[in-house]
């Protein structure tokens, strides 16, 4: 089982690396959005009510990382939908391997991609004058939340792909990523959001994940936000992985 999962994860990573159209949205698009936000709204930190942060880049980084992780989830879904459309997924189902390994392999790949995204954004932060105020422990906390959230978002994308069975539907989720993001405190302090985003952000688990990612970047690691972020990311990962396995069983029952 472990060998099969590892082999499928390796294959998924190779496929991702070979298709620039998959890689570009994973890091390039959120990085450009980060640059546009930071360059355009750098004075926002002087707004009354804005929490004290080393720089607007440090504050925005968590939002862009959350965005990248969400887009990684969409990319996982598109990859599975492509395999379904091209018939490769059916060949995997016919292979003498545990079926759940197909999902787990893809989720392992999602975890590796998420780790790469965390490394990329931390590097961008440091390269452009930002800092990880929480030090190495803070970087570890960001990586942990990022990887768990990446698995959760990957499982969400794969679930949608297994239910929809076509690329167009999964691609249609793309705008929804922004709806979910804009209804969270990923890019701006919750108290400064306009209504109704402020109210939505209060109950959006993405706010917890983004705040958990942000905490070690803008100050010393504090247990509260990091553990809340980890718990929210873990909740998304557990629930969506279960949904993913259920969607796979449903597909097998129909096959």
């Amino acid at each position: 089982m472990t060998r099969v999962v590892a082999a499928l994860a390796r294959r998924a990573l190779r496929t991702t690396a070979r298709r620039p159209q998959f890689v570009a949205p994973l890091v390039l698009f959120p990085t450009l959005f980060l640059a546009a936000n930071v360059g355009g709204l750098t004075r926002a930190t002087s707004l009354p009510g804005f929490p004290p942060v080393p720089s607007f880049l440090d504050f925005q980084l968590a939002g862009s990382l959350t965005q990248a992780l969400l887009l990684g989830g969409v990319a996982s879904g598109i990859a599975i939908a492509l395999e379904i459309e091209m018939g490769f997924f059916d060949r995997l189902l016919a292979a003498p391997i545990p079926r759940v390994a197909i999902v787990l392999g893809r989720l392992c790949a999602a975890a590796v991609v998420a780790l790469g995204q965390v490394a990329w954004f931390l590097a961008v932060d440091l390269a452009f004058g930002g800092s990880v105020e929480g030090g190495p422990l803070g970087a570890l906390a960001v990586a942990a939340i990022g990887v768990v959230a990446g698995v959760g978002f990957g499982a969400t994308g794969i679930t949608i792909a297994l239910l929809a069975r076509n690329v167009a539907t999964v691609q249609g989720v793309f705008p929804l990523v922004f709806v979910i993001l804009f209804g969270s405190s990923a890019f701006f302090p919750r108290d400064l959001l306009q209504s109704p985003a402020r109210e939505v952000a209060r109950y959006n688990p993405l706010s917890l994940i983004a705040d958990g990612l942000r905490d070690p970047l803008v100050g010393p690691v504090s247990a509260g936000p990091v553990l809340e972020g980890l718990a929210a990311a873990g909740g998304v990962a557990v629930v969506m992985t279960a949904a993913c396995v259920l969607a796979l069983r449903r597909r097998l029952a129909r096959a």
Binding site: A24, P25, L28, G40, G183, F187, F188, L193
Partner: protein
């Protein structure tokens, strides 16, 4: 009507038919700028309280940005559609038409200008619904004219890429160009409030002047000193990107 004009019209109509025949393909291009307008207003609305912000509220300031994003999506869609036609062999059949390549190019990109009216109208209407003041007929007409011009220029850019790569896999490159050009401007804040490096980029980015031209009626009065740089920047972009597209068309199949 001359034969060449008929070809331009026919190809333009074919491009527009896609909106009716494949409405699903147009939805992201309409949804995305609208979501950006509503989402960014909800998120960054407080930025309008910064000293030196030149609009009463953030939505009014970024409605023209959303409209130009609609133009960028329409321009990119033209390139993606052309790449699909190349992949399927339809474009090779089009090249057999006894017409100059320039005429074929004009037909291909013409639809982008008209298509851009769909997302920009939706963004404009969404802006009015959330309380953006009516800028007046002249300012509205100028904003839409600049949107159409930018869509035309970005369609030339996307067409150049489609002809060079000959695959829909180049779609992210086509979309990224317009995305960068529109956002690396005083999109979210007036020039005086931008970070130094962003101010430097915005100064040399021609879309800054197009945006300022489209925005002027929303945040004040339409004036010639703000209008002519927009028209000049658009003219320059059309000349540069158009000539690259013409070069690509002339090289195709040789």
């Amino acid at each position: 009507m001359t034969g060449r004009a008929r070809i331009v019209l026919w190809l333009g109509r074919r491009g527009l038919n896609e909106v009716l025949r494949v409405p699903g393909a147009s939805i992201p291009g309409v949804l995305a700028p609208t979501i950006f307008l509503l989402g960014l207003t909800s998120m960054f609305g407080a930025a309008a309280r910064l000293p030196g912000f030149t609009a009463d509220d953030f939505a009014t300031f970024i409605v023209p940005v959303g409209m130009l994003q609609g133009a960028a999506f329409s321009g990119a869609a033209t390139g993606v559609n052309l790449a699909r036609d190349i992949e399927r062999g339809w474009f090779d059949r089009l090249l057999l038409v006894p017409a100059p390549r320039l005429t074929l190019l004009a037909g291909i990109v013409a639809s982008a200008a008209l298509r851009s009216l769909l997302p920009s109208s939706v963004v404009f209407a969404a802006g009015l619904l959330i309380g953006v003041p009516w800028p007046g007929l002249g300012a509205t007409a100028l904003a839409f004219a600049l949107v159409m011009g930018l869509a035309l220029a970005l369609a030339c850019y996307a067409t150049t890429l489609a002809l060079a790569f000959r695959t829909q896999q180049a779609a992210p490159l086509m979309q990224m160009g317009g995305f960068v050009l529109v956002l690396f401007t005083p999109a979210f804040a007036p020039e005086d409030l931008l970070a130094g490096w962003m101010h430097a980029i915005a100064t040399v980015n021609p879309v800054t002047y197009v945006l300022e031209g489209a925005r002027q009626g929303f945040v004040g009065d339409v004036t010639w000193p703000r209008t002519w740089p927009a028209l000049a920047a658009l003219g320059g972009m059309l000349a540069l990107l158009g000539s690259l597209a013409v070069r690509g068309m002339r090289r195709t199949g040789r």
